[in-house]
């Protein structure tokens, strides 16, 4: 089976404290994979996910996308298809609609267009009516903000989602909304895949087929690249 993204001996270090954050890791994510990574906080789960999203520079090793290393110039394009979602949703000033339109103002996404129908359907999945779009971003609850951030990402039709504890700070109802949105996105196309970092074992069991564990920068149960 062909891998969507792979890592070869990917390692991260904290340059300032000279500490190892991630031991050299081989990992492959294939189409239709639902991977969860659990582990204590500070074990390196997020470090690994951020390295997959190319947000932090690795100390050594590499990330391959469709079996090829990623050139600097292609990194924005990569990130618009292999989407990282953080635990803390960051919204820009303005309405929900402004936030959902925002990605299309970026150069790497300029060829794509905002589609209201897509967004309305996604909102419906999360139990939000269309007038939710006119709400001011600063008036949203934490859960609503995360739903907006997720829809902002999902409307881009990502190949892969890299989910960094997306529900860790949310109430149960919002968590269910987020899980439902991700389920629907995954079911929509059999070529999609995601990596879900969670400290909630139950959620990890429920939302994934491949369970990995991170401890002191070592990813165990990793598939061989």
């Amino acid at each position: 089976m062909s891998a969507l993204i792979e890592t070869r001996a990917l390692a991260r270090r904290d340059e300032r404290r000279q500490a190892v954050l991630l031991q050299p890791t081989d990992f492959a994510l294939h189409r239709a994979d639902r991977v969860s990574i659990t582990g204590a906080s500070g074990s390196g789960k997020s470090v690994f996910l951020r390295a997959l999203a190319l947000l932090d520079a690795p100390a050594s090793g590499q990330v391959l996308w469709n079996h090829r290393p990623i050139a600097n110039a292609d990194i924005p394009e990569y990130r618009s298809r292999i989407c990282y979602l953080s635990q803390r949703p960051a919204l820009i000033d303005g309405t929900v609609l402004d936030n959902l339109r925002f990605p299309f103002s970026l150069k790497s996404l300029r060829k794509r267009h905002f589609e209201l129908a897509t967004v309305t359907a996604l909102l419906q999945h999360a139990g939000k009516s269309p007038d939710f779009l006119a709400k001011n971003a600063s008036d949203l609850s934490g859960g609503e903000s995360q739903v907006v951030a997720l829809i902002r990402t999902l409307q881009l039709n990502p190949e892969v989602l890299l989910l960094d504890e997306p529900t860790a700070a949310l109430d149960p109802a919002s968590s269910r909304d987020v899980e439902a949105l991700i389920d629907a996105w995954f079911a929509d196309d059999p070529t999609r895949a995601y990596v879900w970092v969670s400290h909630d074992l139950e959620q990890a069991q429920r939302m994934s087929d491949i369970h990995l564990h991170m401890s002191a920068g070592v990813l165990s149960g990793a598939t061989q690249a």
Binding site: D14, E15, R16, A53, L54, L55, D56, A57, N72, I75, P76, E77, Y78, R79, S80, R81, C83, Y84, L85, S86, R88, P89, A90, I92, F102, P103, L106, K107, S108, L109, A149, R152, T153, L156
Partner: protein, 263 residues
């Protein structure tokens, strides 16, 4: 018009006015006596020192005397621009010196060669005070610009990473911080230009008038200087902010937030 020279006694009378500050500090228990004394001594010593130094430089108007002095002034301005702000990063000093140096010398050159057109260009009576005034304002712009930039990058970290994660380039991610920082660096000069002559009478113009120059001629110089200052502090601010951007965002469109550290 004649010009009244000041004697040591005249200066002593003025210096005695510091006693007013001292009395206030004692009466209100401000605890500032030590600082007052120190400030007063520094004022006298630093100004006397620069007076004698400039007197010497003016007497030996050679480029190899004037140029090193100008370099030293620029270096000190660059270093003091880097000294402010809560956060810093490796290389901030160099960025600050480079942006102060580049902008102030470029604009001073325009002033000396194109506007005032003095011969030789290093005539210390012109070159040194003009560079000094430009440096003083440029250093404010540069230090405010860098300070605001590092502050915006710290507080806006989540938004910056969100833009990068959605496929934004490093430039798109940093744009808002850059804009705010450049604004912050340019505003003091704009404010100054808006009130000059109404609220404030600039020191140089006042000095020329005291020395017997007609006010109408003195303001001509002041107008030229204001524009030189505006240009240099804008250039310096933009330069410093862009250098900061290059240090903290890599070519691989990563935000190197670990490089930002508290002082």
């Amino acid at each position: 018009m004649n010009y009244q020279n000041l004697t040591a006694l005249d200066m002593a009378i003025a210096a005695a006015l510091i006693l007013i500050n001292g009395a206030l500090s004692l009466a209100l228990r401000l605890g500032l006596e030590r600082q007052l004394l120190w400030a007063a001594v520094r004022t006298v010593v630093q100004l006397l020192a620069i007076g004698y130094l400039l007197g010497w430089v003016f007497a030996f108007a050679y480029w190899y005397v004037v140029l090193p002095l100008m370099c030293a002034m620029t270096l000190i301005a660059g270093l003091s621009a880097a000294g402010r702000g809560r956060r810093t990063y490796r290389g901030q000093r160099i960025d600050s010196i480079v942006s102060v140096w580049g902008s102030s010398w470029l604009v001073t050159a325009v002033g000396l060669f194109a506007v005032i057109r003095i011969h030789p260009w290093y005539e210390p009576q012109y070159a040194i005070p003009i560079l000094g005034m430009i440096l003083g304002n440029t250093l404010t712009g540069v230090s405010l610009g860098i300070e605001r930039m590092t502050q915006e990058l710290t507080s806006g970290r989540n938004t910056i990473e969100m833009i990068l994660a959605l496929g934004g380039s490093r430039w798109e991610a940093a744009q808002e911080a850059i804009r705010q920082a450049v604004r912050a660096g340019m505003i003091p000069t704009l404010n100054q230009m808006a009130v000059v002559g109404i609220v404030s009478l600039p020191g140089m113009m006042t000095g020329q008038v005291l020395a017997g120059e007609s006010p109408v001629d003195a303001v001509r110089y002041q107008i030229v200087i204001m524009f030189l200052i505006a240009a240099s502090s804008a250039l310096g601010t933009v330069g410093a902010v862009l250098l900061t951007y290059r240090r903290l965002f890599s070519r691989s469109h990563r935000f190197l937030r670990d490089r930002l550290q508290e002082r």
